[in-house]
């Protein structure tokens, strides 16, 4: 299992996501999972007004920016901010969060599996 370099209890959600972006872009196995998978991902905390979106294109996570985003193939995620921080720093397994109802993912089914696979590759959970 990969060790987080960032402490979710003190970091902001954006910092957690920037750390994840670096891991994502440096991981060779992730690159194998995502050819042709160009998506915008909206991270929307339910307890604070702090939406952040990620842009994945051409085998890289190119953007981590605050604010909402629209896209026909949008992957929309909702959870409270702490759950998000723990998911993106590998502190909890996203599958467990989904089953426990603490995380919701609105997208095509294959996109959910793809995100799960990425988390598994990066964190080894």
């Amino acid at each position: 299992m990969s060790t987080p370099t960032i402490d979710y209890t003190t970091a902001t959600l954006e910092e957690c996501l920037l750390d994840f972006q670096q891991r994502f872009n440096e991981n060779a196995r992730v690159k194998k999972l995502i050819p042709g998978w160009n998506r915008k991902i909206l991270i929307e905390p339910t307890d604070v007004e702090n939406p952040i979106h990620l842009v994945i294109s051409d085998n890289e996570m190119r953007e981590v920016s605050p604010g909402m985003v629209e896209d026909p193939m949008l992957v929309h995620m909702q959870a409270d901010e702490e759950t998000f921080k723990r998911v993106w720093t590998g502190d909890i397994n996203p599958a467990t969060a989904l089953i426990d109802g603490t995380l919701a993912v609105f997208s095509d089914e294959r996109d959910k599996v793809k995100l799960e696979a990425i988390a598994m590759v990066i964190w080894g959970l």
Partner: protein, 496 residues
């Protein structure tokens, strides 16, 4: 995605998941217990129960959107152990349905090409579906809508032609009921209909009612006979069996495209999917009754073949085969895909071994597909060898009825334990009616297990074996997950 297309996708998916080749087998099984209009009554009542259950499922989905329903709702409302027992019961049911579906495909293929060996066909079909899923191939959404609508449209047309071919005015009876049901659904979900639409609906109602009354007066049924009254007493068992015809509608809740979908679109799409299937099954059941002797329907697990032959002549079996292909193309594949993802997520959660979460470089759940496919192959060999489709379907519907009852209980329990949790939708079914369904569904299931004296105690023994297997799997899962699972600190529920 536009709202209408989104609604159409959910409705076609929900109706399609419930509609498979084994639905015809269940129509045949129902004719062991009741026949003719009583079958239709059982279908309508089972549809009404499922519509009430769907409202509870919609409320749970609005609390836990996009979650793998059968696992999440029951885990949150009851306990991990209870949830796992019911999830394993559901998974065993899915494996058995895959076995029945593939067997029915082999029988239909055999009707067109006599002498086709059954076991190689069954194994080949499941193997083919496994390969398709392992390669990560999936029907585009538009194709899925078209193939499912095509499938249901064909069934509706053949059913309507079968029962109203000689007396076209009879077609107005289901039209009348369908419009009433749609108006009731619109009212329940507070859908504002335009003045023009309301006028058109009422005009159709009045004209259809008048013409149907004339048609029925000309075709007046005989007075109730003692045999008919005996059949009436068998209705509870038949209703439980008919629930089988709607199983799968709840899978819609995992497919929500956006948070707003759970407020109205998904809640309204489930009863619409159920209504679509009520009409389709009723047409076919009534058509079969008019065109075929009761013994022919009851004796053959693929009654659609003699029925289509009676309606269309020599081309009937070919059409039955085309419908089988359509069902395999859309619903069978969707079932294998959904089941394998449930296995995958259980493995990721730590309750199943890690190999169930193996994934291809493209992100296809290899482990889940392999486990589900191999289990379906093994059970299909048993089902084919001992010719068990009717027995297995009857047991399955009784057990899933218990899972559905648990969904309703989960709603009432969560209203007490989590009264302030976010609910973007609340069921309109009164609490007393929910309690009634919670009690009635398992009772009907027990009645179904004893409904066919010629089967002896096999239905009861089979149901017991499945429950025991689910309990043992739960015990095994919990003991291994305690040893192997990573410590997970659960956060607050999304809806809290």
């Amino acid at each position: 995605m536009k709202k209408t297309i989104e609604l159409l996708f959910y409705v076609s998916f929900g109706a399609g998941m419930a509609f498979g080749m084994s639905s015809f087998t269940m129509l045949s099984e129902l004719n062991h217990v009741v026949n003719g209009p009583w079958v239709v009554l059982a279908i309508v009542l089972a549809g009404a129960f499922c519509a009430m259950i769907s409202a509870s499922v919609a409320e749970l989905a609005s609390m836990y959107p996009s979650a793998p329903g059968v696992r999440t709702y029951l885990k949150v409302a009851f306990s991990n152990r209870t949830s796992l027992v019911l999830v394993y019961m559901y998974l065993i049911f899915m494996v058995l349905v895959a076995a029945i579906e593939s067997y029915m495909f082999a029988l239909v293929l055999g009707a067109v090409f006599p002498g086709t060996p059954q076991i190689p066909v069954v194994i080949g079909l499941i193997g083919f579906t496994m390969v398709v899923n392992m390669l990560g191939l999936e029907l585009p959404r538009g194709m899925q809508i078209i193939s499912t609508l095509g499938l249901i449209g064909l069934i509706l047309s053949l059913g309507a032609y079968g029962f109203a071919g000689d007396r076209p005015a009879l077609i107005l009876v289901p039209v009348l009921l369908g419009v009433v049901a749609l108006l009731l659904i619109a009212r329940a979900f507070k859908v504002e209909l335009s003045k023009r639409l309301r006028f058109a609906a009422w005009a159709v109602l009045v004209v259809a009612a008048v013409l149907a009354a004339f048609a029925l007066a000309a075709d007046r049924p005989a007075a109730p006979s003692p045999q008919a009254l005996r059949q009436g007493l068998q209705i509870p068992a038949a209703v439980s069996m008919a629930v089988y015809l709607f199983i799968g509608f709840e899978w819609i809740t995992m497919l929500g495209m956006k948070p707003d979908s759970y407020k109205r679109t998904i809640p309204v799409s489930m009863p619409l999917a159920i209504l679509t299937n009520v009409v389709a099954y009723s047409f076919v059941a009534f058509g079969m009754w008019l065109r075929l002797p009761a013994e022919v329907i009851a004796e053959r697990p693929i009654p659609q073949v003699p029925y289509f032959t009676a309606v269309l002549g020599a081309s009937g079996p070919y059409l039955a085969l085309l419908i089988s292909f359509l069902a395999i193309f859309s619903t069978f594949n969707a079932g294998v895909m959904g089941g394998s993802r449930l296995l995958y997520i259980l493995a990721r959660e730590g309750v199943l071994p890690k190999f169930c979460a193996w994934m291809s470089a493209k992100g296809a759940p290899l482990g889940g597909v392999a486990v589900l496919g191999l289990a379906a192959m093994a059970s299909s060999i048993v089902v084919v060898t001992y010719d068990l489709p009717g027995l297995v379907a009857t047991i399955g519907s009784a057990l899933v009825g218990c899972v559905y009852s648990a969904f309703m209980l989960a709603v009432l329990r969560l209203r007490k334990t989590k009264p302030d949790a976010r609910r973007s939708y609340r069921t309109h079914v009164p609490v007393w009616a929910q309690w009634a369904v919670i009690v009635i569904m398992p009772a009907l299931g027990v009645a179904a297990l004893f409904s066919q004296p010629d089967l002896g105690f096999w239905p009861l023994a089979g149901a017991f074996a499945i429950v025991l297997a689910a309990a043992l799997m739960t015990w095994w899962s919990l003991s291994r997950s305690e040893n192997e699972r990573l410590p997970v600190k659960p956060g607050p529920a999304l809806g809290s």
